[in-house]
């Protein structure tokens, strides 16, 4: 698709979504020498801040919920904070804001991320004491509730955020229940085997972990405060605080009906981070990055992925910034990121590189599961595609290198100092492409 206007260097770049991806793109644009107008639009009233500490040290160490990200002084950004982007006109290259402003753009980066999936029944979700956690305001609501020593905290959903929150509760000496519908916690990211290991760790720390269980209903007391949940199997669990941790919903509603290819999985873009139109051709000048993007990952045989992790938000935004300045496709680069994440909970540092959830087999490559210090490798079609470390982060870079060079699975023994490996099923649900 020839788009003559994209050959002219941009003089106004607009970023919708002022968080990790938006700021990372802005920093990169300036590093690359872009000196034109740079507008960042964010519906939250805060400058870009970091989310991971909000489910970790901010709660247990009672630190301020001000996790504002460091910003170089010379970014020269035209901030539009506390105002949402409301729509885009792809032909006129104009973005409309909720306050009535309209901004022309040469390049637009869509980085509107995700929000916490709410409890599906609105009347129950609005009960006093039913919270979610995604942003600073959520953390500000949560901190005093936890400080008030609730008798029992009940967490709906045993994903990363739910488990990290449970870990914080235990560190604060609070009784806590996790209700998770899967057979193991964090199964989507860790698989059956490591998930089962984590279930043991979580229970050892005194968490009442209910697996294969589903909350049917949230109940309030006469004063309208949360009192209990009723499970599908009829069991009732009394609690004073509920945190709904059911994952995230992508912020794409504002883009619907405008000609862009959006779905529940996000805004479709290509490997160059260019946002796609309904006919799968790139929308002129429009890019996407971070949690909102739904994109083809080379390391995953080109299958589409959404990666809701910090590392991808930074890297994809940096690549989008590069490609926004590249002119045409010949100057653009492919976002060939190897997804990675960390989590810390129950005294364990969990780190992963690669997309473990598309693995067929796994093996323990270093350390021992019993000793709670190990590194697992994951394989698909005879290749090593991911590695996950539990309190063994120092081994990870060597395995990242093996994955990047497409090493066989299991990796050749002796390539890294390791015991003899036994292959097992990885235990992920079938891959969703």
């Amino acid at each position: 698709m020839a788009d003559p206007s994209s050959f002219a260097p941009p003089s106004r770049i607009v970023v919708a979504g002022a968080s990790l991806a938006g700021l990372s793109a802005a920093k990169r644009l300036r590093q690359l020498g872009y000196s034109g107008d740079l507008v960042l639009i964010g519906d939250e009233p805060y400058p870009p801040y970091d989310r991971p500490p909000l489910s970790k040290q901010v709660l247990t160490r009672r630190l301020s919920t001000d996790t504002t990200l460091p910003q170089p002084r010379d970014l020269d950004i035209d901030w539009r904070l506390g105002v949402a982007a409301r729509g885009v006109d792809l032909t006129a290259r104009r973005i409309d804001l909720a306050n009535g402003d309209a901004l022309d753009y040469d390049r637009l980066l869509i980085a509107t991320g995700t929000r916490a999936r709410p409890w599906p029944k609105p009347d129950e979700a609005s009960i006093d004491g039913v919270l979610t956690l995604r942003g600073r305001d959520d953390a500000d609501r949560l901190v005093p509730r936890l400080a008030a020593s609730p008798g029992r905290v009940l967490i709906i959903g045993g994903g990363f955020i739910g488990c990290e929150l449970a870990s914080c509760c235990r560190e604060m000496g609070l009784a806590v229940t996790i209700v998770e519908s899967e057979r193991v916690p964090m199964r989507r990211a860790l698989g059956e085997r490591i998930g089962a290991f984590m279930a043991g760790v979580i229970r050892d720390h005194g968490v009442d972990l209910r697996l294969g269980a589903m909350v049917e209903r949230i109940e309030a007391d006469n004063a309208g405060a949360v009192a209990a949940v009723m499970l599908k199997d009829g069991k009732r669990i009394g609690c004073d605080l509920i945190i709904v941790a059911l994952g995230a919903v992508r912020n794409v509603e504002w883009l619907e009906g405008l000609g862009l290819l959006t779905s529940a999985r996000g805004l479709r873009c290509d490997a160059f981070c260019r946002a796609l139109r309904a006919n799968e051709s790139p929308a002129p000048g429009v890019f996407a990055a971070g949690d909102v993007a739904h994109w083809p990952l080379v390391a995953n045989d080109g299958h589409l992925v959404t990666v809701e992790h910090w590392g991808n938000a930074v890297e994809q935004a940096r690549m989008a910034a590069h490609n926004m300045l590249a002119g045409d496709i010949t100057g653009m680069r492919i976002h060939q990121h190897l997804p990675d994440f960390w989590s810390s909970q129950f005294g364990l540092n969990i780190k992963c590189v690669g997309l473990a959830d598309s693995a067929e087999e796994m093996a323990i490559a270093q350390g021992s599961v019993e000793g709670r210090r190990f590194l697992a490798v994951f394989g698909r079609k005879g290749r090593t595609i991911a590695a996950l470390s539990i309190n063994s982060a120092r081994w990870l870079p060597a395995y990242r290198a093996l994955i990047e060079e497409g090493a066989p699975f299991p990796p050749i023994e002796g390539a890294v100092d390791q015991p003899r490996m036994r292959k097992e099923a990885a235990g992920f649900a079938s891959i969703d492409t």
């Binding site: 009233p45 040290q57 160490r61 630190l63 001000d66 910003q71 990675d340 540092n349 309190n391 982060a393």
Partner: protein, 73 residues
């Protein structure tokens, strides 16, 4: 002052903890916890931590530019 650590990159060796113990702490054997908004009184320590980190995982900014909010709140 604002601090962020790229914890994908961090190796948990703890040099930053020696440099700025009020801001960085190791929990368990290798979990790095840090104060994202430490007091400016630790500026020198944090600067030392930034330089001590062998994988350059720490970013800090000592004087954030003021940001105006378009909201009426």
């Amino acid at each position: 002052m604002k601090v962020v650590v790229d914890l994908n990159r961090c190796q948990g060796y703890g040099q930053c903890v020696y440099a700025a113990p009020k801001v960085f702490q190791l929990k368990g054997s290798e979990i790095l916890a840090y104060d994202p908004a430490p007091s400016d009184q630790w500026r020198d320590e944090v600067e030392r931590a930034v330089h001590a980190c062998p994988v350059r995982a720490i970013s800090a900014e000592f004087d954030n530019p003021p940001v105006e909010s378009a909201s009426t709140e």
